[in-house]
């Protein structure tokens, strides 16, 4: 099984966890994901996730001045997003222990 397939449902939650820590722009987020061990993640898969999160009101965005051209889009977490994060962490822990149980 491909790792990317396994990752699909989890990535949204992971992106949100990073945004929860501090507001970020796209490039920063991709680098942060890579640093956290998601080395195969590329920008192309991250932008659609960012769009979805914003569409579902889990994040909002603000424009801030940038050294690379015009104002840059920074993502911030919303209250709804925080709740989603808590649920995600809870679900992940349950899933992790179940999978662990099977593996052992």
């Amino acid at each position: 099984m491909k790792k990317t397939q396994l990752l699909k449902g989890v990535l949204e939650g992971c992106v949100l966890l990073i945004i929860k820590e501090k507001e970020v722009y796209g490039y920063e987020l991709v680098q942060q994901l890579k640093k956290s061990g998601f080395e195969e993640i590329v920008g192309g898969t991250v932008y659609p996730i960012l769009q979805k999160l914003e569409k579902n009101a889990l994040t909002t965005s603000v424009k801030k001045p940038s050294s690379d051209g015009p104002d840059r889009k920074y993502y911030q977490i919303t209250e709804k997003g925080r709740e989603y994060c808590d649920d995600f962490v809870q679900n992940w822990k349950e899933l992790e222990s179940s999978v662990h149980h099977l593996i052992d």
């Binding site: 490039y27 192309g44 898969t45 932008y47 659609p48 940038s66 690379d68």
Partner: protein
């Protein structure tokens, strides 16, 4: 200048900071997204394009090539990004109205040159429809041509021939339509409309930025030329 135009201009400037390889990678995606965004909100499309560009510039500053940053399947990612954007019918209606307006102005120019007063509304609508189909076909053509290495001048030529044939065929078919609707437009009204168009076109020329002016020269000359011919005929 509206905000979308401003973003496009900023994109043109910032793109120059990419090196040759990264620029080629980005531009292929840019063209693909712009033509695929038919019916989509242009402002939103340009916003995402700018976001990706800024991030690619950041990646380049840290010596990460665009392909490594954005990924090996730009077409898939671009499709996903576009599918998340909503449709914008206002932009689309604007396009439809400008095509109908364009065809109307052409018919009026034709009336002025030939000093005719009749205007067939069915012809105006059917030609507008043909132009609409042609615009759509060109967009689809560029879209199909993206991310492939199979484009050739030959194929482009063949495509143009097909489009032109459809156009000619359409013009033959429209004369056979059972229902025609003629209205009478006095020559003075035609002149009035033409003069308004001329004033509008000249005004727009001075409002546009230098880059856009180049594209506006041709339609402007066309209008002035047709007016001159009409005037000579009239006198």
């Amino acid at each position: 200048m509206n905000s979308t135009k401003l973003v496009i201009q900023q994109n043109n400037e910032l793109r120059e900071e990419l090196n040759e390889e990264n620029k080629a990678y980005y531009e292929e995606m840019l063209v693909y997204m712009r033509v695929r965004s038919w019916l989509k909100d242009e402002e939103k499309v340009e916003e995402v394009l700018m976001q990706v560009l800024q991030d690619m510039v950041s990646a380049q500053e840290e010596s990460i090539p665009a392909e490594k940053y954005f990924g090996k399947n730009p077409q898939t990612y671009a499709n996903q990004i576009l599918s998340n954007l909503e449709r914008n019918w206002v932009d689309h209606l604007q396009l439809v109205f400008s095509i109908v307006g364009f065809t109307l102005v052409l018919s009026i120019l034709n009336n002025i040159i030939t000093m005719a007063t009749g205007l067939n509304l069915v012809t105006v609508l059917s030609r507008s429809f043909l132009i609409y189909v042609a615009v759509f076909a060109v967009f689809k053509w560029i879209e199909m041509d993206s991310f492939t290495n199979t484009s050739s001048k030959w194929k482009d030529f063949l495509f143009m021939v097909i489009i032109l044939s459809v156009f000619v065929l359409g013009m033959i078919v429209e004369t056979m339509l059972p229902y025609q609707l003629f209205i009478n437009i006095p020559i003075t009204v035609s002149w009035g409309i033409l003069i308004l168009c001329l004033i509008g076109a000249i005004w727009k020329f001075f409002v546009l930025s230098k880059e856009e002016r180049k594209a506006w020269v041709f339609p402007l000359l066309f209008l002035v030329g047709a007016s001159c011919i009409g005037l000579i005929n009239y006198l």
